[in-house]
């Protein structure tokens, strides 16, 4: 199958998932039959308002968060040359959640806004993980990296969990962040995310050749005149920014950054130049599908997006782990 056909198929899947995310909801006057009409024709009806004001922002946020997190996961796996690396395994997701939790519980510590707090949390956690694992300059040991990530993640999440014991209302606020509840997002939140996703995609494509060279090993990389440290640093920074922006908009959605690059490698091969657009599309598709499911599980009430993603991601992680053992 040619590359173009595979991209087209993946894009079609994303469109179908987006349509599902738009069509499913408690109001019965929005359906598959009239969704396109409602999207593009302002007939002044409440159904139109439902689609444009409530469901569309949510669909956009779900898709963009998916794309961002998948790209972040891919960058981390390239940088660490470790297929297990992802935002949640390296503690970056949890660090971003801690940034948000601090801002919500102690408003006086808030720097600029929640986006910035989440990005600071993500960068700090990523920096800590990489430092424990041997730093960006030295040799990154796979086991040490994963252990460091688990440590940083566990510590960050323990701090987030501490806020659950605080007063009801505060803990409910933090919980709705941590479980990635996007039921009340508005169009204004999709704008910055789209910007980050566009920048992230462009930066990933610029780094693609560097990622490819990194996969050959540090020696080969230096032999080709590419400084592996620079690519590593830029890749890790990109991952932290994309994760932080996503967490600020939706909360820590786990497993997307792990599952999507894995699946895409099976279908698109190892070349990052081919992988990057596929991973962005795949991430969007997966989270859109999870969003549609989050509205169905307890219909007409909702299950937070983060819960659904974890339900999809955890079994996949198990399969990957079993396969990895067989390969060893």
């Amino acid at each position: 199958m040619s590359l173009a056909v595979r991209y087209a198929l993946l894009a079609a899947a994303v469109l179908i998932a987006a349509l599902l995310s738009l069509v499913i909801g408690p109001r019965s006057d929005v359906g598959l039959g009239n969704i396109l009409h409602l999207l593009f024709v302002d007939d002044g009806s409440l159904a139109r308002s439902t689609v444009v004001d409530l469901r569309l922002p949510r669909t956009l946020v779900a898709g963009l968060v998916g794309a961002n997190l998948a790209l972040a996961g891919l960058a981390l796996q390239a940088v660490t040359r470790n297929p297990l690396a992802s935002e949640s395994i390296l503690g970056i997701n949890q660090g971003a959640a801690l940034g948000v939790a601090i801002a919500v519980t102690v408003p006086s510590l808030m720097i600029v806004n929640l986006d910035v707090m989440a990005i600071i949390g993500a960068i700090a956690a990523g920096f800590l993980t990489f430092t424990i694992a041997g730093g960006l300059t030295g040799r990154l040991d796979s086991i040490r990296l994963v252990l460091a990530g688990v440590t940083v993640g566990a510590f960050s999440f323990a701090c987030v969990r501490f806020t659950f014991t605080l007063e009801d209302n505060l803990s409910r606020l933090v919980l709705s962040w941590v479980s990635a509840d996007i039921s009340a997002v508005r169009l204004a939140q999709a704008g910055p995310l789209a910007l980050w996703a566009a920048l992230g995609l462009a930066a990933s494509l610029l780094l693609a050749q560097g990622f490819n060279i990194l996969s050959l090993g540090d020696g080969a990389s230096q032999g080709l005149g590419v400084d592996p440290r620079r690519t590593r640093f830029l890749g890790a920074l990109l991952a932290a920014i994309l994760t932080g922006a996503s967490v600020a908009a939706a909360g820590p959605v786990m497993f997307v950054g792990l599952v999507v690059p894995h699946l895409c490698r099976l279908w698109f091969g190892q070349n990052h130049r081919h992988l990057i657009p596929a991973v962005a599309l795949g991430g969007a598709g997966l989270v859109l599908l999870a969003d549609a499911m989050s509205k169905l599980v307890r219909f007409p009430y909702e299950t937070p997006l983060g819960t659904i993603c974890a339900l999809i991601g955890a079994p996949y992680f198990l399969i990957a782990a079993i396969r990895a053992r067989r390969m060893a």
Binding site: G25, P26, R27, G44, L46, R48, S49, T50, D53, L54, R55, F164, T165, L166, E167, D168, N169, S171, R172, L173, S176, W177, D181, S183, A184, R186, P300, Y301, E302
Partner: protein
């Protein structure tokens, strides 16, 4: 000494020993949500872990020594502090009260919530006899029943019977003041700035509003768990439920709802179009339950309905 005399003396000793051992058995056995517990006669040092238990004690003029007041003393509203004074010690949050502080108060009775404190029931029971009632997810009727049992446990049966008589008269008065509302649908909700949470028909507020005769458009869930009693809801779902009157308790200002003003879906809600969105005190309505709390809500509702009808 003859053998019979020794026998008689031994019997006397045994008898008095039994009497001493049996002394606690004269204590009350209270049946509650997590079993039966022996409670000493007229306990003096009581620790309560939910606001509704403060309500029950205040209704019969008993002051607890410790309250899980979420570390905010003003969460104990004047309606309570006028009766119980201001000498209680805070034992932390309702969600995770400090066992250490509770123990340091040397209580002889602890009153806890079924869903919140089931996990620490054992630890609480080691500190003092602990009785447990469903405050968080119980209905108005459940709250009244718990109040009666609590009054029994603290030896205030007569006072509670008189108070409940007075309560019923007051509530009938409020009901008359509210008038016939059987064709009006109403919904109480909480807005915390990030989400809105509807108190469903199986919640305390849902059942209280039903007691006053209001309708609810919200489908009644099957169970009584927390997510079934307090249901997070989107604007889209609210537009489907579309109550005629919305009672709104805001924990932050501006709330999430304020950001919806101008959206056709919000502006076309029946309650919004007819100007029947009424702000009520979030803390009183959503956290306080019981005899005194329901009277406060009742008086509040009379005012609200008078305003809406004018």
């Amino acid at each position: 000494m003859s053998l019979s005399l020794i026998r008689a003396a031994a019997a006397a000793v045994a008898l008095s020993a039994t009497a001493i051992l049996a002394a606690p058995a004269t204590a009350l056995e209270i049946e509650h949500d997590l079993g039966k517990t022996e409670v000493p006669d007229a306990p003096k040092r009581i620790v309560v872990l939910e606001y509704s238990f403060v309500d029950s004690l205040a209704a019969v003029g008993v002051a607890p020594v410790g309250i899980a007041d979420d570390d905010k003393r003003d969460s104990i509203v004047p309606a309570y502090s006028e009766v119980i004074g201001d000498t209680w010690k805070s034992v932390g949050t309702r969600k995770s009260p400090s066992l250490e502080i509770i123990a340091s108060l040397q209580p002889d009775l602890i009153i806890a919530d079924t869903s919140r404190h089931e996990a620490i029931y054992g630890a609480l029971s080691e500190i003092a006899p602990t009785i447990v009632f469903d405050s968080l997810t119980g209905t108005y009727e459940v709250a009244l029943k718990a109040a009666e049992t609590i009054a029994h446990a603290v030896g205030k049966d007569a006072e509670m019977a008189a108070r409940l008589d007075e309560h019923r008269k007051k509530m009938e008065g409020f009901k008359a003041g509210i008038g016939d509302v059987s064709d009006l649908s109403i919904q109480f909700l909480i807005d915390n700035g990030r989400g809105i949470y509807l108190h469903s028909p199986v919640s305390y507020n849902g059942s209280l509003l039903a007691w006053f005769g209001f309708k609810s458009n919200m489908p009644a869930p099957d169970g009584h768990t927390y997510p079934e009693a307090i249901v997070q809801t989107s604007l889209e779902q609210l537009s489907e439920i579309d109550p005629q009157i919305i009672l709104r308790g805001k924990y932050v200002d501006p709330g999430l709802i304020d950001s919806w003003v101008g959206l056709p879906l919000y502006d076309n809600l029946t309650a919004v179009k007819s100007g029947q969105v009424v702000d009520v005190a979030a803390h009183e309505w959503s956290r306080l339950r019981g005899i005194i709390a329901s009277e406060v809500s009742g008086a509040n509702l009379v005012d609200v309905m008078r305003q809406l009808r004018d």
